[in-house]
């Protein structure tokens, strides 16, 4: 058996194994239909779209686009679901968008965000840190994982939360060096098209930068949080 043949078999076995994990991420339609605005697009352009509610006097304003419906899971009938929690108060401090990741089985997860960076005034990838400071959390069928995503001074651009899930904690990057390697892989990755990649392409990018056997669940959202 040649090495090339073994490589082929190993690749196919890993792909077949991924079907078994039950942790899936792409549903036809909604994710691929949403396009992320160009990362380099002017911030002012997007701020122009902030609803009049901000001008009307709310101290803080948070909005999450109801796409396709605000409360429907992004992945129907899968073992991992990510939902946005409804009813965010307009004056939440710090300014966060809250998601709820649930699973029907015990697993490990990390949250990777393509979100607004004030530093570069662009969209860039970040790894979320949970309340205990770690980047990997355990989720089981009893305790769902709540994800509070700070949106800072984000203009209302389309951002992306990608939950990466694995059966074993060691399959996920869980130290500074591994997280840096992941972010370098994501932020330096070229995309096939000159256009800004869609959610499917971005989710695929995350998956390809992670070890095999890790599944991803993308959840696009639009959020803005502005001080008056």
């Amino acid at each position: 058996m040649k090495n090339d043949t073994l490589d082929k078999l190993i690749r196919m076995a890993a792909e077949a194994e991924a079907l078994e994990t039950e942790l899936t991420g792409v549903r036809r339609g909604a994710p691929s239909a949403l396009r992320i605005p160009p990362a380099t697009m002017s911030r002012r352009f997007w701020l122009a779209g902030i609803p009049t509610a901000v001008a009307a006097g709310w101290a803080l304003w948070i909005a999450v686009a109801p796409r396709p419906t605000a409360e429907s899971p992004i992945v129907a009938n899968s073992e991992v679901q990510v939902r946005r929690i409804a009813g965010l108060p307009p004056a939440t401090t710090p300014c966060v968008v809250t998601f709820d990741a649930s699973s029907q089985q015990q697993m490990s997860m990390m949250a990777i965000l393509r979100t607004w960076s004030d530093e570069c005034e662009c969209l860039s990838w970040q790894v979320h840190r949970f309340q205990d400071g770690s980047t990997v959390a355990r989720v089981d069928e009893i305790n769902n994982q709540q994800l509070d995503i700070p949106v800072g001074n984000a203009p209302p651009v389309a951002q992306l939360l990608v939950v990466a899930a694995a059966n074993r904690t060691e399959d996920l990057p869980d130290n500074a060096a591994e997280n840096k390697a992941l972010l370098d892989c994501l932020n330096e990755r070229p995309y096939a098209s000159d256009d800004e990649p869609d959610v499917f392409a971005l989710a695929t990018a995350v998956e390809s930068c992670l070890p095999m056997g890790v599944a991803v669940v993308p959840k696009p959202f639009v959020a803005a949080c502005r001080s008056r």
Binding site: L9, I10, A13, N77
Partner: protein
């Protein structure tokens, strides 16, 4: 839901059937998927629905990757795969002793995709008409029964990489290198990521290949039979 309704119609379920709520209790609640397969083979539609519910998203994702995100084409190929899976189960052509249902589904899905790709190459006009009713895959349906030898081979590889016998065959380091290498990661990149010398990565890879080769031979495979199985889906 349109897809599910269409699939339900294709396999003889009521067209307006809803897929069951995964959180709802059912007679299958708590039973492992391995139990759903014989039930589905015996004609239990709810068992097949559970199989569909569990594996459809993963299958769709796998096919979407293959077809560069063409959702219409992916949906059609997934649809054909499920119809073939249902037929194979009902006709006793799927042998769960030889491989997991997910491996079988992967094999059938791969076959449909490869057949589509082959046909599309020879007829650009059909490629342009992707999403229309006359898909090339419709014209020459894959034979699920012919996939079983490939399924058995792939199941053995899965067991060696991910199963209980895996750790006895490969060290975690060898396994990691083999998986990354199969994914296309270069030795140099992997060495940089793991902060190891490229020669160390290469040594692990060669050692992993050798162990995989011995383990597969130990399970009755040889170069000829492996190539024959791969030709079934290529």
């Amino acid at each position: 839901m349109v897809v599910i309704a269409a699939l339900a119609t294709s396999i003889g379920l009521s067209p307006d059937v809803d897929m069951p709520d995964p959180h709802a209790s059912s007679p299958l609640e708590g039973e492992p998927p391995s139990e759903w397969v014989p039930r589905a083979a015996a004609g239990d539609r709810s068992a097949f629905e559970r199989l569909h519910e569990r594996f459809a998203p993963g299958l769709m994702r796998f096919i979407l990757k293959r077809v560069d995100g063409n959702a219409d084409l992916a949906e059609e190929l997934a649809h054909l795969t499920w119809i073939a899976a249902w037929d194979a189960l009902r006709q006793g052509k799927f042998d769960s002793q030889r491989g997991a249902f997910s491996t079988f589904l992967y094999g059938v899905g791969s076959k449909y995709w490869l057949r589509h790709r082959r046909d599309a190459r020879t007829d650009a006009r059909i490629t342009a008409a992707i999403g229309q009713a006359q898909s090339p895959a419709h014209a020459s349906p894959a034979d699920p029964a012919g996939t079983m030898a490939f399924v058995e081979l792939l199941q053995d590889v899965r067991d060696l990489l991910f199963g209980e016998s895996g750790p006895q065959t490969l060290s975690p380091e060898e396994r990691e290198v083999l998986l990354e290498s199969a994914r296309g990661t270069s030795e140099r990149d992997l060495a940089a990521r793991l902060r190891l010398a490229p020669s160390t990565i290469n040594a692990r890879k060669q050692s992993g290949y050798a162990k995989m080769r011995r383990a597969l031979i130990g399970r009755g495979w040889n170069e000829e039979s492996v190539e024959h199985c791969l030709s079934e889906i290529e």
